[in-house]
Amino acid sequence: MNHQAMIQGVSSGAESPAPMILIENLHKSYGHNDVLKGINLAIAKGEVVTIIGPSGSGKSTLLSCINFLESYDEGRIVVDGAVIGYVEDGKGRRIRMPEKDLNALRQQIGIVFQQYNLFPHMTVLQNIIEAPIQVAGMSRAEAIAVARLQLDRVGLRNKENAYPSELSGGQQQRVAIARGLAMMPKLMLFDEVTSALDPELVGEVLGVMRDLAADGMTMMVVTHEMAFARDVGDRVVFMDDGRIVEEGPPDQLFYAPRKERTRAFLKRVLTPQSGL
């Protein structure tokens, strides 16, 4: 298969604009354990796609493949026209792309993790300006200006000199979002970002993500928050056992699912408390 031709084919489509993220026949296994069994998904610029599904269905692995924190075995991922993780050598074989190129691609893809993963030895401000200065080559003053803008956005401007351990889980997660945004990424990935939070702190993080979606950020959101998946997602994807079982507009997927597995899952998770 000629990858170059395919990329051009992707980006020259006149009637439908090139997707921000294109995932084709993605396979990934750990040893004999197949985690992703052929994922196909295209996400447009500015689109918010929420991904739901039972634990172990491959949702988080899928996100990790997009910025190549996890390698994949088969298929390909294209972000804004660039294939992630692999290049072809002279003989048409696929080899891991040079680290330098990979690092450049990763700068364009923000990710927020379930466990925040803030750097505990740095203040909030230092956490946010670290990569813009060290990786993107911004001046310190420029990076601080960007960081403060992002802190305003997540409502934590007054915490810039705090250390992560002095913040609540919700505040830490909002800092993590600001840290990702400070690199001016083309898209943001959210990997169960509210799952480690106390229930009363979930709202503030989801609020920040709602604002971000409203601002037109391209987002892939793996979540167990069904109300959020329905309200914020332009499209909802249901994954199970390494495959996309069903995808569609929120109203259709939640209230008129076509597949039996989707119905069974929704029946399990949609309790009266979930507000759906």
């Binding site: 690092n103 990710i111 993963n117 690199m183």
Partner: protein
């Protein structure tokens, strides 16, 4: 007991001279050993098998051979291969290379104790492996392993006593000479012990200061 206060006081100046040599050896070897340990610790967990293999071989080799044997081998053994190093150089090499092997293992354990999520977060922001190691992982790891590293530094200060076997005028050697000339064993060694003790105190203070200064929040 033959403690002789006058002899004790008399011996202090020459002991102090020896202590200066010991302090010089200790400071230089601790610095070099620490540098080796930093590089070695990172090399031990390298994905490059050759790099991690070499680091492992170094650690096994230097932890398995007594420092005294390393000293004697470098000083008396190498000249038969045509390589003659002066006693000071031999002492610095033996002390820092031995110390570096222990620090290597301490640094490695410190790196492995850091949550893998830290590296994932750093890499996701576009940092190279080296940059993430330098700016994110090592600063956290070193804070955690400061106490065992201080321990190694204290051990090194005291291990410098072994260099008296290769004719370096260190603290122990100075004490031995006083003993020989005055046929009194207790007084000079009381002084020697006191000097070693005094020399370890700054390291303990340094440890406490660094721990306060870089407290992990």
């Amino acid at each position: 007991m033959d403690f002789d206060l006058q002899l004790f006081l008399q011996s202090l100046p020459s002991l102090a001279q020896g202590a200066v040599m010991t302090a010089k050896l200790a400071v230089i070897s601790i610095a070099i050993g620490f540098a080796i340990g930093l590089v070695g610790g990172v090399a031990r967990i390298s994905r490059n098998r050759v790099v991690s293999g070499l680091a492992l071989a170094y650690v096994i080799g230097m932890r398995g051979v007594p420092l005294l044997v390393t000293l004697l081998f470098l000083y008396y053994g190498l000249p038969s291969l045509g390589l003659r190093l002066d006693a000071f150089t031999v002492a610095i090499i033996a002390l820092s290379v031995t110390n570096g092997a222990y620090i290597t293992e301490i640094v490695r354990s410190g790196i492995l104790a850091i949550d893998p999520g830290q590296m994932r977060a750093a890499r996701s922001l576009g940092m190279s492996n080296g940059l993430a190691m330098r700016r994110i992982i090592l600063p956290q790891a070193l804070r955690r392993v400061l106490p065992p590293i201080t321990n190694e530094a204290l051990t090194l200060v005291k291990n410098t006593a072994l260099v008296s076997t290769i004719a370096l005028a260190d603290l122990l050697r100075a004490g031995l000479e006083v003993m020989t000339w005055h046929a009194n064993t207790f007084s000079p060694f009381a002084g020697v012990a006191l000097f070693y003790l005094l020399m370890t105190l700054p390291l303990i203070w340094l440890n406490a200061w660094v721990e306060r200064r870089f407290r992990m929040r």
